[in-house]
Symmetry: C2
Subunit: 219 residues, 2 copies
């Protein structure tokens, strides 16, 4: 499968690109924003695309056309301001969805955040109170995707860490704000791509005791 | 008609409250955020509600219940940052829509901005290039409303000025970025409330040569 990874230079993105390449079954296309990020991927023999999510949808459409599936794992990150949260995490995400629709690519995986579907609930997770702008951005991006005609899977991982891959997770509608490794998030994305039972599913995910494939098949 | 004006202390909001009161046909309920804004409305004999759009939806539901229609004309304004654009112009707007739905109040008028429905188009109006965060916020709020089951009208006024009411406008899907007085915007809101033909309509609006009622009936 040709998988367009939007946000390939991010911490989940770079792991996903590597795992896709190692799988031998898939071909990652690393979509990145800055020219200086190109070299790293080219050295790894990874196909790249230089596209700015703040630009036109047409620029995204052009590269989505060469993919069978899209993974959105771009994030403006903690070092930029709330303007970029609006323009990347929300608007960039929805422009990517529109691009996929225009390109006729149905499969779309969104990397979201644990509990963001409960952003408007009084019993939402505590972390959202200190990140309201980010929470709202992810909430509306996910809501748009769920209302679209795309074959979506929305993965809402918990607190991210850089531990090794365990291959084991817990998935559910609502989970406590516990940890998960970025390596396992990347693995769960690939397992989702390979299992169409995950289409139309949105779920929280933390590290746990169940093998990823088994956990996702039970959703 | 009992009309909840969300953002009553704003420049369109205060004009709308006054015009509703002068109409003798309607009863404005001024929803405001700050306690110090209360006195002004109380002196005018206007019913008030102190509700923070960054708070819980339930707080909005409670006051919407006493209204027959909701007008959203709140805006974080130019003196705050993009965090408030997300939390007021986008999230506050959609929380107000959800509150109206929960309260069973169907009629919802949105004050938007000229051309924001073309935010993702390459031929969009120039003003959006210098206000991308605001443009995106209004675009997604309007899109949510159009996809809702509310009886909406979305008014997208041009460049706002403080001129007197002319009572004459031009309305259309796409208009150039020309001026309109806030008094005329307030009048068009009331005319929309009084004419159910405007339900399900979204339009740009600038000052023009056609009486407001006539212009809106032609939509």
């Amino acid at each position: 499968m040709n998988v367009l990874v939007i946000g390939a230079n991010g911490q989940i993105g770079e792991r996903l690109v590597r795992q896709l390449q190692e799988s031998k079954k898939h071909n990652p296309i690393a979509m990145i924003r800055k020219e200086e990020q190109l070299a790293k991927f080219k050295e790894q023999g990874v196909q790249t695309a230089l596209v700015d999510l703040e630009g036109n949808i047409e620029d995204i459409v052009n590269i989505v056309k060469s993919a069978d599936a899209v993974v959105f794992t771009a994030g403006s990150g903690g070092h930029t301001g709330p303007d970029k949260t609006m323009l990347i995490d929300l608007d960039g995400a929805i422009k990517s969805m529109k691009a996929a629709q225009q390109a006729g690519v149905k499969r779309f995986i969104m990397v979201s955040g644990i509990g963001v579907h409960r952003w408007h609930d009084t019993n939402r997770l505590d972390w959202m109170d200190s990140s309201p702008v980010y929470s709202a951005a992810k909430y509306y991006a996910d809501a748009w995707l769920e209302r679209s005609d795309l074959d979506y899977t929305i993965i809402r991982p918990g607190k991210l860490n850089n531990n090794n891959r365990t291959g084991k997770v817990t998935v559910a509608d609502n989970l406590p704000h516990k940890q998960i490794s970025r390596e396992d998030v990347a693995s769960a994305i690939i397992t989702s791509l390979e299992n169409n039972e995950t289409i139309g599913k949105s779920f929280d995910m933390i590290n746990g005791e169940t093998l990823i494939l088994e956990a996702l098949k039970k959703l």
